[in-house]
């Protein structure tokens, strides 16, 4: 990372808007958020209700046909936007929070605490991520009942180490700057230095990390749901693909069932990646003019 690694929140938002790819990403994300909010208005049917004959190909009444229980696939696709975006965002936020706390403690206090926390972070990074997340979901999610919260917790617990490392190195370089030294000379407490001086200056990094982790979190959620570990009462794109595979939609050539959900996941993750690319271009000027 370049000379100046820390920016304020408003500045970071300005940077996002200054990049073309980030603007495209934001636009896609905005459309998806609108779809999620207005799902009840856009979807022609209740996604969980039997509305027609089973396994119908696309027709005027059902533009993406119906599934094996006679439910409208297009309505499922629209309603799935909610869960996929929500789980992606909240688990990325939670992972960044855990990572920020650990990175702050390790970077600021250093010494033995730093050593122990970084050992744990390294061990965590050595675990196969998806396998570990599956294990946590099976451990903590009830067979019946709310599985969404355990899934969010499992994804967050599987993905905080990168955030911890990033924040730690930023804190270490900040700690040596003169204004922190002056604050300490004036007798400011550790808590005051951390919350007033260090944390606000890492906000740009925190925003970038939430964005990066959100793409991964959406893909992990899709993988978990695809493997049949999602909440059966709710719908997500990964879950739709799980049912499509389980009901042989691929062998039967029902492309209208398994192509749209994958495209939606790709679109959502692509939006996040484009925003990330915009930020990266700014912070690493050598990569600018790349698109």
């Amino acid at each position: 990372m370049a000379v100046r690694a820390v920016f304020g929140v408003r500045e970071t938002i300005g940077i996002v808007f200054s990049s073309a790819s980030a603007r495209i990403g934001l636009a896609i994300l905005l459309v998806l958020v609108l779809i999620a909010l207005l799902a009840d208005l856009i979807a022609p049917y209740n996604p969980g209700e039997r509305v027609s004959q089973a396994l119908m190909p696309p027709n005027e009444k059902h533009i993406l046909g119906t599934d094996d229980l006679g439910r409208d696939i297009f309505s499922q696709l629209i309603h799935s936007t909610r869960l996929s975006l929500l789980i992606g965002f909240i688990s990325a936020l939670a992972a960044t929070l855990i990572g920020t706390v650990i990175g702050l403690l390790a970077g600021y206090y250093g010494g033995k605490l730093d050593e122990v926390l970084m050992r744990i972070t390294d061990l965590w990074l050595a675990l196969p991520n998806l396998l570990f997340t599956i294990l946590l979901v099976v451990l903590f999610a009830p067979q019946v009942g709310n599985r969404i919260v355990p899934i969010v917790v499992a994804i967050a617990l599987g993905s905080w180490p990168t955030a911890a490392r990033l924040i730690r190195s930023a804190v270490i370089s900040l700690k040596q700057s003169q204004y922190i030294e002056s604050a300490r000379a004036l007798g400011a407490s550790n808590a005051r230095i951390i919350f007033k001086h260090i944390l606000p200056n890492t906000s740009s990094l925190i925003i970038i990390e939430v964005i990066t982790l959100m793409g991964n979190a959406m893909l992990t959620e899709a993988s978990l749901s695809f493997l049949g570990l999602g909440d059966p009462r709710a719908m997500s794109w990964g879950m739709m693909l799980h049912y499509a595979l389980a009901r042989n939609a691929i062998y039967l050539g029902m492309w209208w069932w398994f192509i749209p959900p994958g495209l939606m996941i790709s679109l959502a993750v692509l939006a996040v990646i484009l925003i990330g690319v915009g930020l990266e271009e700014y912070f690493n000027p050598r990569l600018r003019r790349r698109l």
Binding site: L131, I134, L227, I265, I273, L274, L287, L291
Partner: protein, 323 residues
């Protein structure tokens, strides 16, 4: 620090990591609850049978006692008996492991090689048509769920064109060491392999490209050019060579995380490998099988890390002196 003491330090920390993962697995697995709890409600099972089952699997002892015998057994390579597959854990794993390794190790290696070759070209010819198309494809494939890409390949090549089989690793009825067996194996192998190579190449090409662009801005490249070295020499001995260093870490660690790719690939193609095995072990709460797979996995993760560190130290002498 000499290479020998560097090596010694790495090996000690590797052993500690394996022990830490073993311990984590033991306690995580025991949090999943009693694997025999479901049998309690079965009227055909008497409490005596249940007791005997628990004793058979060592579940009647205390946690500490179980832990000690677990570590001891793992150290002597005794992995226990799989409840789900009714055979020794070691046999269950060894039956499946070759399929996973034979699919993933070559595909990771080939995609690493392609990503490196294409990435260097892209970085060198930034803004060219090759660069821009590959970049767009790469960003799209990074966003695509891996298993969905596999579904699309399966649909196009196997369902629509009918060129390849729909599922499995081998057609039933073929005996192992024969020419037909091998041809049939390759026929099943083609599509999963292709998906893994395509995705791996396009994802990792980006890392190489960006590090080549970084290196092209370095002073030593300007110096090499200024002193009149032919561009070919600059490219091969300054740019490509230095781009290799960060790649060893990123691409080497792909071998450590083989299992993550295997779980999804093997689900889509109903491939009988370790990925499905470990997934079934978790879902069925088959403690012994899960422990066995995790032990083998953690050892391979640590080994891959160790090899990456060593390669890095061999290629970059600065690393040896630093730590």
């Amino acid at each position: 620090m000499s290479l020998a003491s560097f090596l010694a330090k790495k090996i000690v920390s590797s052993v500690l990591t394996i022990l830490a993962i073993l311990t984590l697995v033991f306690f995580l697995v025991r949090l999943t609850g009693d694997p025999f709890a479901e049998l309690e409600n079965d009227p055909r099972i008497t409490p005596e049978t249940l007791q005997a089952l628990r004793r058979l699997y060592g579940m009647d002892k205390g946690v500490v006692e179980q832990y000690i015998s677990y570590v001891h057994n793992m150290l002597i390579g005794e992995m226990g008996y799989s409840v789900k597959f009714s055979k020794p854990v070691f046999d269950a794993i060894m039956e499946r492991l070759p399929y996973t390794l034979a699919l993933l190790v070559p595909s990771i290696t080939l995609s690493n090689y392609l990503a490196y070759k294409i990435g260097v070209e892209m970085g060198y010819r930034r803004g060219s048509r090759l660069d821009i198309t590959t970049l767009a494809l790469s960003n799209f494939l990074r966003a695509t769920p891996y298993f969905w890409l596999a579904i699309i390949f399966l649909y196009v090549f196997s369902v629509q064109l009918g060129l390849f089989p729909l599922y499995g690793a081998i057609s039933p009825g073929l005996s192992f060491p024969s020419f037909e067996w091998f041809v049939d194996y390759l026929w099943h192998y083609a599509i999963p392999f292709l998906v893994l190579v395509v995705r791996g190449t396009f994802i990792f090409v980006l890392y190489v490209r960006n590090s080549v662009i970084d290196i092209l801005g370095e002073d030593y490249v300007a110096v090499a050019r200024a002193k009149g070295l032919p561009e070919k020499a600059v490219k091969s001995s300054y740019v490509a060579r230095n781009a290799m260093l960060p790649m060893i870490t990123v691409m080497g660690l792909r071998y450590a995380f083989i299992i993550d790719g295997a779980i999804l690939t093997e689900t889509v193609f109903s491939y009988p490998g370790t990925g499905r095995l470990v997934f079934e072990a978790i879902i069925n709460r088959d403690f012994w099988l899960l422990q066995g797979v995790m032990v083998i996995l953690s050892i391979s993760v640590v080994l891959a890390n160790l090899i990456v560190d060593l390669l890095y130290a061999l290629l970059d002498p600065r690393v040896r002196s630093q730590r």
